[in-house]
């Protein structure tokens, strides 16, 4: 398998990206193509302790970089030779099996839509991270790619999330919930009520295991396997979880540092504490796939360090070999809603 990585995207590019790519190559046994400025990439390779480009690693030269200040909608028309744009073209043309970038989320989503293209019939690609819950993990779709949604988008997200949960969580019939401010059918906005009706119809037809509205607190307790929502509220849910996790971590750390006795107690529960921290650590997660794009495109956290990139390579491998894109393509007829 060959993974294409935008060497110039992200807060710590190119050094941390290259470092993570080289580690990912060894760990996951894949070939890597790094897109970006050849001189800069070679300098980073050298800084990683390698005198020459390791076997199985190539560079695809690009002279420009997508900056955070670039307008996502037009950047690929203005800048023709960016490391991100080149990577998207290469994955589209089959020169690699997946593409990873830690660059601008908006630009990557737009580029994936314009260059790599959506799966035919999919109206919007969504970002769907796996979030920790009390009972395991759940797919949160969308977490920020689409701030404003229509019922059709949300219905499609429900299907996309369900296929993703089947493939990544190994569930036969993932329980799909619509994130809302209450469980009763009349709760929420028009968008929520219209979507609820469409999802109930899909459930009655046996296409989805839709369980109805779900509140955020129940969702993170493991009340469903797929949390369907617009990117605006999904992003707030995700960031709130990150914030609460961070506060909880600091509070626990403070409690255990109080005196010798509590420090001894901390040593006893340290493995558990470490796994709790890892559960909330974006660097352990690596990245988030854009579901609905015709080829695997993975968004790594903007602040990705080498560990995050290494993990993103693993995620790219898993996504590319999961068969989810074929699942979506063969079920697209279920997801199209006419006459809106």
């Amino acid at each position: 398998m060959k993974i294409i990585i935008d060497a110039m995207g992200g807060d710590h590019a190119p050094l941390e990206i290259v470092k993570g790519a080289l580690a990912g190559q060894k760990r996951w046994g894949v070939d890597i193509i790094l897109t970006g400025d050849t001189t800069e990439i070679l300098k980073a390779v050298e800084a990683c302790g390698e005198k020459t480009l390791p076997h199985g690693v190539e560079i695809a030269h690009a002279t420009e970089v997508v900056e955070m200040s670039d307008d996502p909608a037009t950047v690929f028309r203005r800048k023709k030779n960016t490391s991100m744009g080149l990577g998207l073209q290469m994955v589209r043309d089959g020169k690699g099996d997946a593409f990873i970038s830690a660059g601008s989320t908006g630009a990557l989503l737009t580029g994936a839509t314009l260059i790599t293209k959506r799966i035919r019939g999919i109206r919007r690609a969504a970002m769907a991270p796996l979030i920790p819950t009390s009972t395991g993990k759940a797919v949160l779709i969308d977490c920020g790619a689409n701030a404003e949604c229509t019922p059709e988008y949300l219905v499609q997200f429900a299907y996309l999330g369900s296929f993703y949960a089947q493939r990544t969580l190994g569930l036969d019939k993932p329980r799909v919930g619509l994130l809302n401010i209450g469980t009763e059918d009349e709760k929420g906005t028009d968008l929520r009520r219209q979507t609820l009706a469409l999802l109930r119809t899909a459930a009655e037809a046996g296409h989805l295991n839709f369980i109805g509205n779900i509140e955020a607190k129940e969702a993170i307790k493991g009340g469903c396997d797929v949390i369907v929502t617009d990117g605006f509220s999904g992003n707030i849910l995700l960031k709130t979880m990150e914030g609460v996790g961070s506060i909880a971590g600091q509070a626990i750390s403070g409690i255990f540092r109080k005196n010798l006795l509590t420090k001894l107690a901390a040593a006893a529960v340290m493995p558990g504490l470490k796994s709790f921290k890892a559960m909330m650590d974006p660097n352990k997660v690596g990245g988030t796939a854009f579901i609905g794009i015709a080829k695997p495109v993975i968004k790594a956290h903007g602040a990705s360090n080498a560990e995050a990139v290494e993990n993103a390579v693993g995620q790219a491998v898993a996504f590319a070999s999961s068969g989810i894109i074929a699942d979506i393509e063969s079920n697209i007829h279920l997801m199209t809603i006419h006459g809106e």
């Binding site: 737009t110 314009l114 059709e152």
Partner: protein, 81 residues
């Protein structure tokens, strides 16, 4: 290419991109108000127009005036004929 032929081709392009029936799209259809298009939709459509009609790259300044399907059809007519 006649205006009518350009409109038919545009109807097909837009129907494909926005998952609509072609007969729902008229010359008066507004991209933002009737089709719910955002900036990415418009760039996507413009790229499809450039490819379909083989007219090279459309300048960004020219894009700003294209608010309805009819605007696009007239713009393409001026480019092609």
């Amino acid at each position: 290419m006649t205006m009518e032929a350009i409109f038919k081709t545009m109807q097909d392009l837009i129907a494909e991109q926005f998952a609509l029936d072609a007969d729902e799209i008229t010359m008066e259809s507004s991209f933002a108000d009737d089709l719910g298009a955002d900036s990415v939709d418009l760039v996507e459509l413009v790229m499809a127009m450039e490819e379909e009609f083989d007219i090279g790259e459309i300048d960004e300044e020219e894009l700003t005036g294209l608010k309805t399907v009819g605007d696009c059809v007239r713009f393409l007519n001026s480019k092609l004929n």
